[in-house]
Point group: C2
DNA sequence: ATTAGCACTCACTTGCGTTGAGTGCTAACG
DNA sequence: CGTTAGCACTCAACGCAAGTGAGTGCTAAT
């Protein structure tokens, strides 16, 4: 399994993976000796390739074609052979430029970040905004919509805005709501939503007697408002980039991918898994548990401001993805977004 | 041009259009006589078809194939031949069911409506939320994000929430902002955003002297906040439905469509045009000015609550679209959304 | 005016030989 | 003994020709 590859085998594997990433065509022995200046004859390379096939790093579409990397081959390449280059200055600049987000709200920024990811990587970009649960409470507002229907607006420390409609059972007047709003906004800021919920539970349980009517109502109302976690919004950019890939020309695979990219829920599931881990994570082909994105690789990184709102962004593309370019892009973008979150707050 | 077609020609044109909508294959003379019980021989039908070709209602992919409708053919069909059936009970119910939007905010509802449109029509659904300009002001909130950066949140009468970040030049404290918020929320509700802006202009110009410092700041701040119109958000649902259509199997056309559906701006342009007109509008093929959706038809209808927030929704699909089904779906959905808007407010 | 009959068109399919990139094996080489 | 030249073999891809059939368009008969 973890078979020790000698240097020559490594070089050849690397060459094959890189050639295949470029051309998307099976790589032959002659092609390698031509393009890379190994001092080896095609025959020798063939021998090595045969070994690599035996070990499971390469596969052949049919006997008389070149070889293509297996998922395992890519994995070895990414883990052992790839040296991640620094992101070229030009990209850096063009991203910082693209990230002039003045006057934009959080949703727009997230979408814009997705566009940047997609535009520069030339694959499909994904951004999952921080789940509300993980953010720090800044402000809550209640607006009376109609008899018994309330609009609740949360604002997080980082400027994230989310709203939902609740029906608390009692019909508050706008004036009552303003008092409640006021009371809450003076007591709750600085805690995470999770902490806020705990605090509410405690106050309602233990200190019920000490609270006046307004205060009790305030806590009950905000408890209702925070009851379900609002799922982090997912932004997808450059879906059509997926269709540009030669591996997804077949109608079937095309549909499968597009359906997945349409389903926010599936994307949340995908991105959620890398939420907690730090740094860039790479899921290659079948490795990425979710079978729905068969033939795809996913490169993700969580981002967070100093104040702890945690989201995830990433790039999704064919397994035959330009890892050496995309990895630094994702890495840099995550840190860029982190800085934006801090600036906003 | 407006050549008077006799009844037989009309029947045959109708039959061809409907068969073609079903099968997506050129319709031959024999096929017609078989499927529809005209008492006519294929030869006679052929003569009529030849006439219809001359008049521009039909075209032939090549000499020895059946005939397919031209855009003009579809248009005649939609305008003169099609009788719009009522939406079947089952669809009606399944939509009303799908529209249990309790506890959902406006964005979720809009997205859900898109899904409904797409799911029931089996084409791609589009929803453009009301432009903020056209909505009635209900509430404004200012939240201080950081030195000089303010988050402004608008709520419209119908429960629509939008936010943006502004940098007013002065650094207001949260307490000052609350006073301003308070002042504005007591003076502005009930007007449209456009009216609000006019009012602000007037107050600032004519009654400058009479205003105290707070009031002046309030007006200046909200003027800044309302400076640009926030474009109505566009929701797209069921893009992959487009790829199911046989006319978009070619890689090129696929990409073109997907790119268009990705570009919110292009969609806004498309939907904007039918914003003002009342009732269902139908854009067939090239007729829909925008060349980017070559080969597509668009069926739209504006929706509005009694309180005037106007948005547009619609279905986009191949020119060979099942008009008789989609038209009532779009019509019904628009009225459904209208009712939802009223309920919300 | 309608229809049967018939020659003609033309995309599409099927089968078949050709091509060429590339392998895998063997035997020779340094 | 690792490396290499040589060579037979494999197999997708391409091109071509013949065959197929749905469908037209014209003409002459009803």
């Amino acid at each position: 399994m973890g078979a020790p590859l000698n240097e020559r085998s490594q070089n050849i594997l690397e060459a094959i993976v890189e050639d295949y990433i470029q051309t998307a065509e099976p790589v032959g022995s002659r092609a390698i000796t031509k393009r890379h200046a190994f001092d080896l004859s095609p025959a020798t390379v063939r021998n090595v390739m045969a070994d690599l096939v035996d070990m499971g790093f390469l596969a052949s579409p049919h006997t008389s074609a070149g070889r293509i990397p297996t998922d395992m081959g890519y994995q070895y390449y990414v883990e052992s052979l790839l040296q991640v280059r620094d992101l070229p200055e030009e990209f850096r600049n063009s991203m910082e430029d693209g990230a002039r987000f003045a006057g934009k709200n959080m949703e727009d920024i997230m979408q814009e970040v997705g566009n940047l990811l997609s535009g520069i990587s030339r694959y499909t970009g994904l951004v999952m905004a921080p789940r509300f649960k993980s953010t720090i409470f800044r402000r809550i507002e209640f607006v009376r919509l109609s008899q018994g229907r309330l609009l609740v607006i949360f604002v997080s420390e980082s400027g994230l805005v989310q709203n939902k409609v609740i029906e608390p059972g009692i019909d508050f007047s706008q004036r009552e709501l303003e008092s409640i709003t006021n009371y809450l906004n003076h007591r709750l800021p600085g805690m995470t939503i999770t902490q806020v919920r705990e605090r509410i539970a405690v106050e309602l349980r233990e200190e019920k007697s000490r609270l006046n009517k307004l205060q009790k109502q305030a806590f009950e109302l905000s408890d209702k408002a925070l009851q379900e976690d609002i799922a982090g919004q997912v932004y997808v950019a450059g879906t059509s980039r997926m269709l540009e890939q030669p591996e997804f020309t077949s109608h079937d695979s095309m549909m499968k991918i597009m359906r997945t990219l349409e389903s926010k829920q599936q994307l949340v599931d995908l991105l959620d898994s890398s939420q907690s881990a730090a740094g860039v994570q790479i899921f290659i082909g079948s490795q990425s548990s979710h079978a729905t994105i068969e033939g795809c690789s996913l490169i993700t990184a969580p981002f967070s401001g100093q104040k702890g709102a945690v989201g995830t962004l990433g790039v999704i593309g064919p397994v035959r993805m330009n890892y050496s370019q995309v990895i630094p892009i994702v890495d840099f973008t995550a840190s860029l977004v982190g800085r934006i979150l801090d600036r906003e707050s």
